[in-house]
Amino acid sequence: MNKPVSPDDLITDEDGPLYAPRRKLYPQSVSGRFRSIKWRLMVLCLGVYYLLPFARWNRGLGAPDQAVLIDFPNHRFYFFFIELWPQEIYYFTGLLVLAALSLFLMNALGGRIWCGYLCPQTVWTDLFYAVERLVEGDRRAQIKADAGPMTAGRAGRRVLKHAIWLMIAWWTGGAWVLYFADAPTLVRDLATLQAPAIAYVWIGMLTASTYLLAGYMREQVCVYMCPWPRIQAALTDELALNVTYKYDRGEPRCSVKKAFDIRALGKNAGDCIDCNQCVAVCPTGIDIRDGAQLGCIQCGLCIDACDAVMTKVGRKTGLIGYDNDVNVQRRVAGKGEIFKPVRARTVVYAGLITAVCAMMVYALMSRTLLDVNVLHDRNPIAVRLSDGAIRNGYTLRFLNKRAFDRVIAIDVDGPADAKLHVIGVDAVTPDRPSIVLARDATTEARVLVMAPFDEKAEKSVPVTFRITDIGLGEVASATDHFVLP
């Protein structure tokens, strides 16, 4: 007799289907240690995100006073006491490297800490769920309402929920654009419809993405879109702590009463009473008791749910907790638990983080605030003058990263008896022309170097332009070549 084959059997392996249509989740509210950690982190993360653009930082007259500002029109990035120019974009590379290494370190220590507590997708989804429960009631009320007919009250609550969601989403997009312009001014312009169109476009896009990602796609982002769960699985090791159902203690599952009977017979009964609270509170709708899995963002809410139940039935808490398979096996074998946060993997990650931090701090401390670049004329490379002397033309570009104008003197060191002429500068001090560099800007000058023709001189000799800040004494130099025709 042929057993009917279900289509799920055809596309399913033991890890679950590759894709399943989304079923709506109704995570139940929960309270406890991890929930309160999550609330606090949510307030911190959102508070920083929404309020940081309004922080002020005095940089002197004429410079923006916003603490964190990405100034695209003027090509500057401000972060409190740091001001970066576009060519210093490598600091962001450093930050990205640090972010990746920190992610690896978190992963080696406590699993998906980022996913469970800090990821924007988690934080905003958590907030949207909280709003949903506030307006439509907790898990049971929502399930019941969804199963029943649409009533006026239910429709009203639904409208209210979406309205609040959209407001949060709109505020999220609004805060985003504030990082790119003076926040108080932009807020006023936005309110009076004077802001540039691009600001409204970005607010619209981020409102839409926040609303969709936190209101609708939710755990699907983590399960189907995000690459980190896959990478994380490849980077973890057996000693990393993860949110784990301690099946050595929990299995076999049975009700309190049944466990009492079984234990009375001297047989083994697990602590798990199969109340499904861990599943009910899960924001990604998984069952932690199935073991480590891709869908688990390790937010710790099942720990809170289980601890509450264990307390209620008078059993030890921690049936679900930060643990790993090594310890489960060791307990089964009657050995003691091991906890090794310091091991080769974490030491290497921490060492790399320290090294990258040190490099970045050093680079930042030692970076030059006065610089000069030189570009030799391409055509003609050298010019013969009427008295037989040779002249080469150069373009010098000076960088003044300080917040004030300054005067520099230019010296040239190259062929014997070389003379310098800067176009547009009067020859008051012909051998040491000086020019003014505008604050926080680059200045370009065309410079001519003349030297008497010497039959025996080499075809090309190095020429160095040295600039000296007359007030501060800072120097910078750039070297090119003086070429004979």
């Binding site: 010019v383 003058l385 009427s386 037989g388 176009i423 547009g424 065309r446």
Partner: protein, 290 residues
């Protein structure tokens, strides 16, 4: 398709009724959003035909309600650019050439504008960097036929040399040989004499006294007693190290025999006054002028 309600027992879905060797095709309709998007594109296309140029006709096309044309759009953009440029360049109008060169912001503006104009109009003869070529002066050096001050450069750009414009520079090197003024051997002698003015080697049997006599009688009226030239006439300095056509005897003989009269066109009327101003500053800044 005919009435067909067969349900595939494996998947529980209906089939299309098509069957090949016992293999049946499941009825998997396109997703509704896809179909709606497709219909929307059709509606969009019809709207597009109405408002934009779409259909070719025998001698033309349907121009659409918007009367859109890429050519007109480019013309508008160019007009906008000219307007914007005019606003930016206006500051050059009130400043003198010397002021422009001394004020860094104006100098940068004039050089930027001058550079593009030079590349578009001057580079074919003078080279992209103004290095010149045989017969086309190098603008980077300090030897100027018609003067290297800012005003003189601007004068030359505006009216050219031997350009036919009423205010152009005039003056030319006569064809002493072709016109029968000097004989062949006299030309060779004076060519060697000219070489000696800037310390170049001369032919072994060269008669310096004869050369000087020929030079004094024929050349000094333009080139001066010592061959230092005369910028009023565009007569080059023959005693320096810079040669427009070449300093070897053969070239000099050719120059003296047939004369020279290189032409620089007049740019007044072809370039607007502010552009000429920017160009003058740019050329002057190439080598610092005189």
């Amino acid at each position: 398709m005919s009435e067909h309600n067969e349900i595939d027992h494996v998947s529980g879905r209906s089939t299309t009724g098509h069957e090949w060797d016992g293999i049946k095709e499941l009825n998997t309709p396109l997703p509704r959003w896809w179909v709606l998007t497709f219909y929307a594109t059709i509606v969009w296309a019809i709207g597009y035909w109405v408002v934009y140029p779409a259909w070719p006709l025998v001698s033309g096309y349907t121009s659409g309600l918007f009367q859109y044309s890429t050519r007109a759009s480019v013309a508008t953009d160019l007009a906008d650019l000219e307007k914007l440029r005019g606003q930016k360049m206006a500051v050059l109008g009130s400043a003198s050439l010397a002021d422009i060169e001394k004020e860094p912001a104006l100098l940068a503006l004039a050089r930027a504008r001058g550079k593009t104009v030079f590349a578009d109009n001057c580079a074919p003869c003078h080279g992209s960097g103004g290095a010149g070529a045989k017969g086309y002066p190098n603008l980077n050096d300090d030897d100027w036929l018609w003067g290297g001050s800012l005003d003189q450069i601007m004068q030359t750009i505006q009216f050219g040399a031997r350009s036919g414009h009423a205010k152009t520079h005039e003056g030319q090197m006569l064809a002493f040989g072709r016109d029968g003024v000097l004989k062949k051997d006299e030309i060779v002698t004076v060519a060697n004499y000219v070489r000696s003015l800037s310390g170049l080697s001369t032919a072994p049997k060269f008669d310096a006294a004869a050369g000087k006599k020929i030079f004094t009688e024929n050349c000094t009226s333009c080139h001066g007693d010592n061959g230092k030239g005369n910028q009023e006439l565009g007569a080059p300095n023959l005693a320096d190290r810079i040669w427009l056509y070449g300093s070897d005897e053969e070239t000099l003989v050719e120059t003296i025999t047939n004369g020279r009269a290189g032409v620089m066109p007049a740019w007044v009327g072809r370039l607007d006054p502010l552009t000429v101003k920017a160009l003058a500053v740019y050329v002057h800044s190439l080598g610092g002028g005189r």
